[in-house]
Subunit: 705 residues, 2 copies
């Protein structure tokens, strides 16, 4: 194991049983199709080993519906190994490879593995075990069918076979009968070593899974580990060429940001526009493997500006799940599209009405995530608007996005109420990002997002009419939106967005500032149980101004130019001490706004908190008795945004690309690449905030705007 560049490698020495779960997250591999947890080869379900299949869901009756862990093809046991004497584990971000070297009492083990980015069905491993002579150590490699499952078991049958030197396990899920085939071929290398090639296919891939997986194994074995690794590395190299951000003068930040990008990229679907990125990436079944607003507001911006093809896949996932969003709107008595709060493969909402357990009574608590967090539909429209604006990809509108924005506008119109004596529309009974305050009226974030969504929908539909009149007419024939456009325009104009009050504070919702103004410290002192839920009907935060996560501040990030800086500063300072940051989505919003206000110290603190969340494991692990650990791709995206939109001050808009840098004092240089409306740009900022923006090969130099 070579000593590696500290800004590209995560390296851990020593084996601490208490960190096995954390390391499972920290040493993740993945390719958007599947995610393989960074547990050791000899680990099984007790250590939360897992090979999560993106978009393959199953429900055991009476339990939560969640994604399926495939039988684990890298599983390799050591009999008679004794205790661990020494251990080190390394993740090479640049090449997406994990290596481990462990000295047991009776055997030394080393391995390297990758989950191929070149071929999403494939993972490969090189394994070496040097037993102490005569110690009677026995190494066995196979496919583990004892799976870590939160709401399992998901396979009603699991059949094992071996043919043509390929071991196979075929599982069939209970709910939908999805076939999952895992095949493994072993190639001996020397007396103590072997290479292993594992292929995974499911019946959702449009092929017969078992033959496909078997053929893939044999093909891989024929190609060999080195050749497959080179193809894999080349793919990662391409990824990094697009997304890497170089920070000079701060190796810690450099590494944390690269690590964040790595975690985000390994969950990104390049192979399909039918899946997205779940809230815990592919690190496990937490949050039902569901896709939240996290994707649109915290991850998509990275892809939209660095790898639009991935962004397009993520948007198309929403287009493909529109039917589920229509059904959900209808379920609650509305028209249009109300996207799932916890979206699974068909847009069905995995979120329940009772999503948290009361630690005092053991009873489920009625929560309003599912039915009141209407901003999800606006977040999707906002993301579509940004994607379209920043990529110029008109085709996505015709392929489904125009229909999505129209149906979301329709939903909001049907949700809104008009206050006649104030001549304005209002959005009542909603839950904003701060989920501790459920069922509030006129949540500032929600109202502003919905206003933006209506504006975007009107712009997009107008553009469609001008530039693709046939598609526009076809869409109108399909969903008949034309007669409603004027109403949406009127609503966008007259939708109430809570203005700053006499103190300059934008109330998070109606009545917010009349709530008890208690310090976070005092509130926590009132807790009777360390995992009691602070929101919900009787939650401690519910009746106070303590918020779970950035809400108004997130709005200020998104609509920075709507307000004078003085107002933004006042609100940041007001909400900051009242925010628990109980969500990993929170810190980056504070970092982003602080950076733009020039408060680089605060911005840096929140940026680092965001960028290191999956390294430190310092995130909320339980709500009540609900496990919510895993990786945090939204924070990963937030780390990139904090640097690119925050410190570098990148903006896109009617004036094109602008950069207004405010780097932390100890940063000497920041360089990154974006792709804007089809043109790649390199941005290079030095410590004097001199900016070079380089488009393609034609160099142009610019000053910050």
């Amino acid at each position: 194991m070579k000593k590696t560049d500290a800004t590209w490698c995560l390296h851990v020495e020593g084996f601490r049983p208490g960190e096995v779960e954390l390391n499972g997250n920290r040493f993740m591999l993945g390719n958007g199709y599947m995610g393989v947890r960074g547990t050791l080869e000899e680990h099984g379900k007790v250590q939360r080993a897992g090979c999560l299949l993106n978009g393959v869901y199953d429900q055991v009756p009476g339990k939560w519906r969640e994604p399926v862990n495939a039988p684990h093809g890298l599983f390799t046991t050591l009999e008679g190994a004794g205790q661990i004497v020494a251990h080190e584990q390394t993740l090479d971000l640049r090449r997406g490879r994990m290596a481990r070297r462990t000295r047991y009492e009776n055997v030394s083990v080393s391995s390297e593995r990758f989950v191929s980015l070149d071929d999403v069905h494939l993972m490969c491993m090189r394994y070496h075990a040097a037993p102490k002579p005569g110690a009677g150590v026995r190494v066995r490699t196979g496919i583990d069918t004892e799976l870590w499952e939160i709401n399992g078991p998901h396979f009603k049958s699991l059949e094992r076979d071996r043919r043509e030197g390929v071991e196979s396990v075929v599982g069939v899920t209970g709910e939908l009968g999805i076939v999952v085939a895992v095949c493994a071929a072993v190639e001996p290398l020397d007396a103590h070593g072997f290479a292993k090639y594992v292929a995974v296919y499911t019946s959702l891939d449009g092929v017969d899974p078992l033959p496909a997986a078997r053929a893939k194994c044999l093909e891989a074995k024929a190609s060999g580990y080195d050749a497959l690794g080179r193809a894999h590395d080349a793919c990662w190299d391409a990824v990094w060429r697009r997304c890497d951000v170089e920070i000079e003068g701060d190796d810690e930040a450099q590494f944390a940001l690269r690590y964040s990008l790595y975690q985000l990229q390994l969950a990104a679907p390049r192979h399909s526009d039918r899946v997205s990125i779940p809230a815990r990436g592919l690190s496990g079944q937490v949050y039902k493997g569901a896709v939240f607003w996290d994707t649109e507001l915290f991850m998509l911006p990275v892809f939209t500006l660095t790898d639009p093809r991935v962004a397009r896949n993520l948007i198309m996932y929403r287009c493909h799940t529109l039917e589920g969003a229509r059904a959900k709107a209808a379920e609650y008595g509305y028209r249009g599209a109300f996207f799932a709060w916890e979206s699974q493969e068909r847009g069905n909402d995995a979120c329940t009405h009772f999503n948290v357990t009361d630690v005092f009574t053991g009873r489920p608590i009625r929560t309003y995530f599912r039915d009141k967090q209407i901003h999800i539909s606006a977040d999707i429209v906002y993301a579509i608007g940004a994607y379209y604006e920043q990529t110029g990809d008109f085709s996505v509108l015709i392929d489904g996005a125009a229909e999505v924005v129209a149906e979301c506008a329709r939903f909001f119109y049907s949700y809104a109420y008009y206050k006649k004596d104030k001549q304005r529309y209002e959005l009542l009974d909603v839950t904003g990002p701060d989920e501790y305050h459920e069922r509030v009226h006129n949540n500032a974030f929600t109202n502003r997002m919905v206003k933006a969504a209506l504006d975007i929908a009107c712009v997009i539909l107008d553009r469609l009419e001008r530039e693709a009149p046939d598609a526009h007419a076809a869409l109108d024939r399909k969903i008949g939106f034309r007669a409603e456009l004027d109403a949406w325009r009127e609503m966008a104009q007259r939708l109430y967005v809570p203005p700053p009050d006499a103190d300059g504070i934008i109330p998070q919702c109606d009545g917010y500032r009349a709530l008890e103004d208690v310090s976070l410290e005092e509130l926590k002192g009132r807790m009777l149980n360390p995992t009691e839920y602070l929101g919900g009907g009787n939650g401690l935060a519910t009746t106070t101004q303590i918020l779970k996560q950035a809400d108004v501040v997130l709005m200020l990030h998104l609509f920075f130019s709507d307000y004078p800086q003085e107002t933004i500063r006042k609100n940041w300072e007001y909400y900051e001490p009242r925010c628990e940051h109980g969500s990993s989505l929170s810190a980056c919003a504070y970092a982003l706004v602080a950076a733009r206000l020039g408060d680089t110290d605060w911005a840096y603190r929140y940026f680092m908190q965001t960028a290191t969340v999956d390294l430190t494991g310092a995130s909320t692990q339980y709500i009540g008795d609900l496990y919510i650990g895993g990786t945090h791709p939204a924070a990963n995206g937030g780390a990139w945004m904090s640097v690119v939109f925050g410190f570098a001050g990148l903006r896109t808009g009617t004036e094109g690309l602008t950069v207004t840098p405010r780097l932390p004092a100890h940063w000497q240089r920041v360089r990154f690449r974006i792709e804007y409306r089809g043109t790649p740009y390199r941005i290079d900022i030095d410590s004097d905030a001199a900016v070079v923006i380089e488009a393609k090969r034609k160099k142009k130099s610019g000053q910050p705007v």
Copy 2:
């Protein structure tokens, strides 16, 4: 103690310590100015003795604001009496007198007392103690200053004095410095007996309390017990001539109904239009001695049709508290008048935002009685409309009621939202009578009541314009309502009132029927603590269809003619098994509707439940750790309504007076008197449902309509 008529007397034999509190309620005396609990003379605060002053409130910092108990002037101790050997206690409803006879080991005690209905400041007692010779029994009578107080102590000073043979205690309350003077004069009758005259005045009475009370005592002593008793009896006689309902063939029902009327009458203010009737009458400080909607919907109908002067006082109480209602509306950001949920002397709302304690955590629960039970303002307008319609008293409109109805209409307009795509107004985020379901949308009861309130307001203001144009113009100058009338009219027309669904069920609120449909029995089986609150954020009933009390069924009573009987029956049958009757207001609504549907068995069951609530003590005594015992004047009024509106089927309206009787099978005859638009009528119904309606002296015979 004479054997007395079982339909006029409550008689209890034997002394059971566990029933002292219940008997304190059962043997209440009162005159609307004060209520004296039916504890024995030797009882004090431990036994919850009390002399509650109507409308005299005080607040100890940090505690709930509640009415004041005066020092107890009938207090008479027995030293060396020994144990109780025999005991009997009698309440003579017809004359409002309580008598007791108790044989202690060493002394026999008898007494009779009344709280004068002829002079509200006066109570009188005749007391006799025959000690066993040589037993050393010592009888002392005085004024007890050790008071039963729930949120006391309320007197910052208590000064005792004796002059001219009159003992006095003058207390000064802590919050407002109200002076309460209690004076007592004793008149020896024979060796073992005395009469006692107690006078109570406060500085709110517009006189100097101590001299007034002292003079009253001396004057009473001069008049003597018999003469004062005769004047008192004559007043009760007049009360009964107005309100008595004679039931032949059912002495139990006859007694229960009279008892209900007695309890209601003793709390009714005849002396003042600045107080009303609190939810627990004058039986104690429970519910902060506050006036709820109970008065308008459950008590006022009795007075409006039997003693309009009392009804007028009750309505004027609301007129005098309009300023508090305006302040409350403004507090929540609305215009107009939002009456207090728990109204005290100036219309200030005694209800807190945290009115119940969580038994599991000991923390206060955020409840929405105060801020969401908007129907209170509609209930008041409804009552004003009914009062005006049934009495023809135009003067009340000029004296304040027209302003009240206008300000309430204005409030509702400012509260309502317009749903453009459905072209209707809706009332969102309200709590209806079923307080287990807080913050609901379009509560059927609330919406229908508000519609009625808007209609009534428009009718009353139109009438005012026609018949008293100067008063109309003056009111418009004062509150400027003219420009808003058309909007109120439009809202009345377009206000959504939830219609029956496909099953014929009127949903109690939006989404009601999607709630869990659990049986009451099963729900109660889920309780972990016998007094846990079923509503609120995490209450067991909150997420189910179990309702606390009549809600849709109460609406059906009030708006019976809006619906076909088939619909009413379906809804009664649907809601009846789902109703907990956790409020004493509930049973009478079920009785009323069942009676009108001809289900006299059901009606009789619920009528008797209503009419006996203060006899059996079978009502909820605790919510969480909150004591809510006492008398139930709303149920008392409900008992009268059940017979008069229910079994007798009395209606008033555009067709004048109609009677459609459906008597219980075993009832032979029902006779009662009402006063309608200034004309007294006697209604006489026999078991064949033949009706005689006799106006004044002119006899006219009618058949049911």
